[in-house]
């Protein structure tokens, strides 16, 4: 089991191409933990903005009558990948992991796989 800071550190060091990671509470839009990388992203801004993304998707699923959960959300920019992964554990309700990757260095399949494992290990 890892704590929030440990999980972000693991994500930044073990996932190739990681340029920023955050653990965010989407009820408040505030970050519980952030870890800057070489990307220079303001992760608190990213936390607030991506909270709206997660909420919008949840609302949409609700309106469509889908009784399902979000496993992850992938946003592809021209030079970056942004991965959002809501936590599924008992202690992680209402939280999501946010990971920004440099597209030219990252392996998307590997990054998703690693993020899944980090999420499973995370105890908040």
């Amino acid at each position: 089991m890892t704590d929030a800071a440990g999980a972000l550190k693991q994500a930044m060091t073990s996932i190739e191409g990681a340029i920023g990671a955050a653990l965010v509470d989407y009820n408040s839009g505030m970050a519980l933990a952030t870890l800057d990388g070489p990307g220079g992203l303001d992760l608190n801004v990213a936390a607030a903005g991506n909270t709206d993304v997660v909420r919008a998707k949840m609302r949409t699923m609700d309106m469509l009558g889908l009784q399902d959960g979000i496993e992850d959300i992938l946003i592809t920019l021209s030079s970056q990948y942004h991965l959002i992964r809501p936590l599924t554990g008992r202690t992680g309700k209402g939280l999501f992991l946010y990971l920004a990757l440099d597209k030219s260095r990252a392996n998307l399949a590997m990054a998703r796989h690693q993020l899944t494992r980090i999420e499973a290990d995370l105890e908040v």
Binding site: N44, G49, T51, D52
Partner: protein, 147 residues
């Protein structure tokens, strides 16, 4: 505050200032979903501009000043420096107060669903712009004045 402003800037400018402040309040409301309303008050509790519905704005301005003085002392005695912002969370929503320069505050009311991270982000920027607007009105650019 209003009287002080009136003496210094004149009526026409005061109306212009109020219009600009109202535009700023509406802009924040537009940018942050689930915002119920907001007001700008002086630190001594007088209402400068407001965009609230349902809440009595002058009473809220006075209460803001009361809680502000306590928050200021609290920050001061614990060595946290100048007051920057305070957030009250109730069962049915939030009341957030942000310092807008040294003489005024921005108070915003929000529903419980509000994205607090975003609220902070937008309100801090807005408070800075409001401080700028107030500064420009209180210190009119006078070519004879070297300061």
């Amino acid at each position: 505050m209003r009287r002080a402003l009136k003496q210094r800037v004149g009526r026409r400018q005061l109306i212009a200032l109020e219009t600009e402040l109202l535009a700023e309040l509406r802009a924040v409301k537009h940018r942050v979903p689930h915002l119920a309303g907001g007001l700008v008050a002086s630190v001594d509790g007088l209402l400068v501009a407001h965009d609230t519905h349902g809440t009595e704005p002058s009473g809220l301005a006075a209460m803001t000043a009361a809680s502000l003085s306590l928050a200021q002392r609290l920050a001061d005695t614990t060595g946290q420096g100048e007051f920057r912002e305070s957030l009250v969370r109730g069962e049915h929503g939030y009341v957030a107060t942000y310092a807008a320069g040294g003489s005024c505050v921005l108070t915003l009311l929000a529903h419980p669903d509000v994205n607090v991270g975003r609220l902070h982000l937008e309100a801090r920027r807005s408070a800075q712009r409001i401080a700028g607007l107030l500064n420009d009105s209180l210190l009119p650019k006078d070519p004879r004045d070297p300061g």
